[in-house]
């Protein structure tokens, strides 16, 4: 069989070997190029492209300016992209260009103009994935491999993989002796950076798993975790990107609403919210009444730390004339929160904000009802305008230890590599501890103790789709501002990418964190889909 499709025709072909194209199938060749067009719609899409060209020919000098100002959505869906362009260019009116000059953009003062034409792409067709596409979506993504000059580095990796394999087989004596050998080898390797540093942390994790399996590492939320989180926030742009992107989407979803309510699944120090409060303050027409419900762990020492954060945010809101109310909900685990605790009023526009929290719900005992399904269920029942979800873009929830180990090695190598670019101390050093704790949890813990159950965006898409949510597109505005944020504040090497309505931030072409936005489907639509 040749390496390319065997079907030769002057018409369109799908990549599946079966001959007849079903009405709902997307053109396989265009899919391979990253575009989704239904086979039955090729002619219509071609016509629209022709129309767009004619329109563009009539307004030649303004096009590029118009293009900068327009909100673009999901370029994979050619039909709706062309339609949105047609809408913008015809009739040719000048669009307010307050988005065009970013020379004095600072993070806190970012002014986000709500999108007037937020085009959400209609994904109601049934997507027919070829096995190849499914595999590509669920397979490993690789980190960037730097040329490994050191032989010792290569030996370490080899030994770590062998050790992980022994652990999986249950051969602890072998694993133990390998760990001792590796620790000896570590003394001859530069563990301050590169493969040596990564190896140090992974060997440490293996060490804990093999020798102290009962209490490998501290888990769960705590005061210390907040400090680590804050340093991770400062040292690299992943969390800033998460907050920034989610805020942008929330702001757009709140457009036109006077009473808005944000539910934050993990308040921490409330770092995300000053920017949103300021953006709402500057909203044309005036700010809405903003309620913020922050969920977080109970404070160990009797302080009400949630309330303290709430008070600080309230002060900020007062200083910019935003009517603001805060409520803290203390819970050790997200699945312990009940929707009535959030006191959502039917008159308000609700935004649910989950920054790296949903994956914690994926562990489940044999008799427990799935926590993730429960939580997604009550999120739906609150009928939010938007659910912003940011998750690590990694496959760290596989049951086989060796698979998890391999994935984690790739993922965290890339993350450590990106951290090399940071020069802030002690932020960088403490950020490493934050990452180390995550690694420990992924590799050393099992059952309910293992909360870092990261899954890739493709899996979250399926999960959220099955739970009755549809994706909202994070458009070109968010993309452009995220890119600009990176060039202003971060080292070269970070990259923002758009994938089918979602944004990812990565290091050297490996996405590490993915942001997406969702909205519950109406029940009638779900029933219809279930019948198909």
């Amino acid at each position: 069989m040749g390496p390319y499709d065997s079907a030769i025709s002057t018409g369109s072909t799908t990549s599946s070997p079966s001959s007849a194209a079903k009405p709902s199938e997307i053109d396989g060749l265009l899919a391979g190029a990253g575009y989704k067009v239904r086979s039955t719609e090729l002619h219509q899409v071609a016509q629209r492209l022709e129309r767009l060209e004619t329109v563009m020919v009539n307004a030649p000098s303004e096009i590029s300016q118009l293009a900068s100002d327009v909100l673009h959505c999901n370029p994979s869906d050619i039909a709706s992209w062309v339609d949105s362009m047609l809408f913008e260019f015809n009739p040719p009116v000048s669009i307010p260009s307050d988005l065009s000059d970013f020379s004095d953009l600072t993070y806190i003062d970012s002014v986000v103009s709500p999108a007037i034409n937020q085009t959400v792409c209609n994904n109601s067709w049934v997507e027919h994935h070829t096995p190849q596409q499914q595999q590509q979506e669920l397979t490993h993504q690789l980190t960037v491999v730097t040329a490994m000059e050191e032989d010792s580095g290569i030996r370490l990796v080899h030994m770590m993989m062998t050790c992980a394999e022994s652990v999986q087989r249950g051969d602890l004596p072998m694993a133990g002796s390998l760990i001792e050998e590796m620790q000896a080898l570590l003394t001859r390797v530069n563990t301050g950076c590169g493969i040596g540093k990564v190896a140090r942390y992974f060997i440490d994790a293996l060490n804990r798993r093999v020798f102290t399996p009962q209490a490998p590492c501290a888990t769960g939320w705590s005061n210390e975790n907040e400090i680590l989180y804050h340093h991770f926030y400062e040292a690299c742009p992943y969390l800033k990107f998460a907050h920034f992107t989610a805020n942008q989407a929330i702001l757009e979803a709140f457009d036109g609403h006077d009473c808005v309510h944000v539910v934050d699944f993990n308040l921490m120090h409330g770092l995300q919210w000053p920017a949103l409060i300021q953006a709402l303050a500057l909203r044309p027409g005036g700010p809405p009444l903003l309620r913020l419900t922050g969920i977080g762990p109970p404070s160990p020492d009797g302080r009400d730390s949630l309330r303290e954060i709430g008070l600080r945010l309230a002060e900020l809101a007062r200083s910019v004339n935003v009517r603001f109310a805060f409520r803290g909900v203390a819970a050790s685990r997200l699945e312990d929160v009940k929707p009535w605790m959030l006191q959502v009023s039917p008159k308000e526009a609700v935004a649910i904000n989950s920054i790296m929290q949903l994956h914690r719900l994926l562990g489940s005992g044999p008799t427990r009802v799935s926590a993730i399904e429960t939580v997604l269920g009550w999120i739906r029942s609150l009928n939010p305008k938007i659910v912003t979800v940011v998750e690590q873009e990694a496959n760290h929830n596989q049951s086989e230890f060796l698979d998890r180990f391999t994935e984690a090695l790739y993922y965290y190598s890339t993350m450590f590599d990106s951290l090399e670019a940071c020069s802030l101390q002690p932020e960088k050093a403490v950020a490493e501890i934050y990452i180390q704790k995550e690694i420990c949890n992924v590799l050393c813990c099992e059952g309910s103790a293992r909360v870092e159950r990261h899954e890739p965006l493709a899996k979250w898409r399926n999960r959220l789709g099955a739970a009755g949510f549809r994706p909202l597109n994070l458009g070109s505005n968010a993309f452009k501002q995220a890119s600009m944020l990176l060039t202003l504040f971060s080292a070269e090497g970070y990259c923002v990418e758009e994938h089918d309505g979602c944004l990812t931030l990565g290091w050297h072409s490996r996405p590490l964190i993915a942001a997406s936005a969702w909205q519950p489907l109406l029940d009638t639509v779900i029933n219809h889909n279930n019948l198909l």
Partner: protein
């Protein structure tokens, strides 16, 4: 002019399959939005619109890929594509750079197109093309993510190509077993083809052996307006105006299109007479408006005594090699495969001869 536009649109639709037409028209219109009249480029929107795919260490249809940094100072990345041997389900981090097996293993240094301004090594269309090349040529493919105009004009793309060539040439794991050398071929389309030529020049000067150059619709030009440019302007997705814009974006300030980078056999070109230049395969699409310059390139090579095979595809437009739904695609893939096989046979013969006369 509106009348002739309508004629143009239906003309191009007649010569390519519908999905190809949609793909290339979509690019064309999107690219129109990105080029600003003042010569600047809307890079943010370009990156947003570009469909990208990640590398994939899991073999898909017999090919796996991974990214490497070749030069940290310029963030020069390349994506490496290798055939899966079938043994390992998921290559571990060591297997990625496992030595190639085979007495002669061709390594293709690939430069994607995009008129020096568009696309990346991880653009979906080029990821797909490189994967195909692995199967067709039984080669390892290294796709270079070179810096682009207008932010990084001449000679950045050439410098990056040269850096990548040196890197490939010095990888122990890419050496063929027969002679412990890396067997390098360079392949590029559009601007990538232009880069292939210019990197080959550097290779010849520096003594790195490149065994073959394969140029698909290479991007060349000149000050003069040629007959094909005038005849085909705007008819098949490409206009003289957009070609001019890209040359202005790439060439140094103040230079015109007779600069050697654009017009290698023009008034400022360098003579290749007597040089040990790689054997070349140049593919020209009959509906590409810059074909006169591509033909001039072929003539230039011939006049300098260099070996070149010229493949002219009558009714092909730009980008015909992106989707496997037309005869030209298969013709070209067969030609590339033949070219490589022939080269490998010559290499084997040369090695045997050298061995016989004790030169090995």
């Amino acid at each position: 002019m509106a009348g002739s536009n309508e004629v143009n649109l239906s003309e191009s639709k007649r010569v390519v399959p519908l999905n190809t037409w949609i793909l290339i028209s979509n690019f064309k219109l999107a690219y129109n939005l990105l080029r600003r009249p003042d010569g600047t480029f809307n890079r943010h929107l370009a990156e947003f619109l570009d469909r990208k795919v990640p590398a994939n260490a899991n073999p898909v249809e017999g090919v796996f890929s991974f990214d490497v940094i070749i030069d940290r100072s310029t963030s020069l990345l390349s994506r490496i594509y290798r055939p899966a041997t079938g043994e390992e389900a998921l290559p571990s981090i060591m297997e990625l750079e496992k030595p190639v097996t085979g007495d002669i293993v061709p390594v293709i240094l690939f430069f994607h197109g995009g008129s020096f301004a568009h696309s990346s090594a991880n653009s979906a269309i080029y990821d797909t093309l490189c994967r195909r090349l692995v199967g067709i040529c039984k080669a390892v493919v290294v796709s270079v993510n070179y810096r682009r105009a207008p932010e990084s004009p001449y000679p950045c793309a050439y410098d990056d190509g040269w850096a990548a060539l040196k890197w490939v040439n010095s990888r122990p794991w890419l050496k063929s077993e027969e002679d412990s050398k890396v067997h390098i071929y360079m392949v590029g389309d559009s601007s990538g083809g232009n880069i292939v030529h210019n990197v080959a020049l550097k290779a010849v000067e520096s003594g790195i052996e490149v065994l073959g150059n394969i140029l698909l619709n290479p991007m060349f030009g000149g000050q003069e307006r040629t007959e094909s440019e005038k005849r085909l302007d705007g008819k098949y997705f490409v206009t003289i105006q957009d070609r001019d814009w890209y040359w202005r974006a790439f060439l140094p300030e103040g230079e015109d299109r007779d600069h050697a980078a654009c017009n290698p056999f023009g008034p400022n070109g360098k003579s290749l007479v007597g040089m040990k230049f790689p054997k070349s395969l140049v593919v020209v699409a009959g509906l590409d408006l810059v074909q006169d310059w591509q033909l001039a390139y072929v003539e230039g090579l011939k006049k300098a005594g260099q070996e070149v095979k010229h493949l002219y595809l009558d009714k092909a437009t730009i980008g015909f090699y992106l989707l496997p739904n037309n005869d030209h695609f298969y013709t070209v893939m067969d030609e590339i495969s033949d070219f490589m096989l022939k080269m490998i046979s010559w290499e084997r013969l040369a090695m045997e001869t050298n061995a016989k006369i004790g030169l090995f």
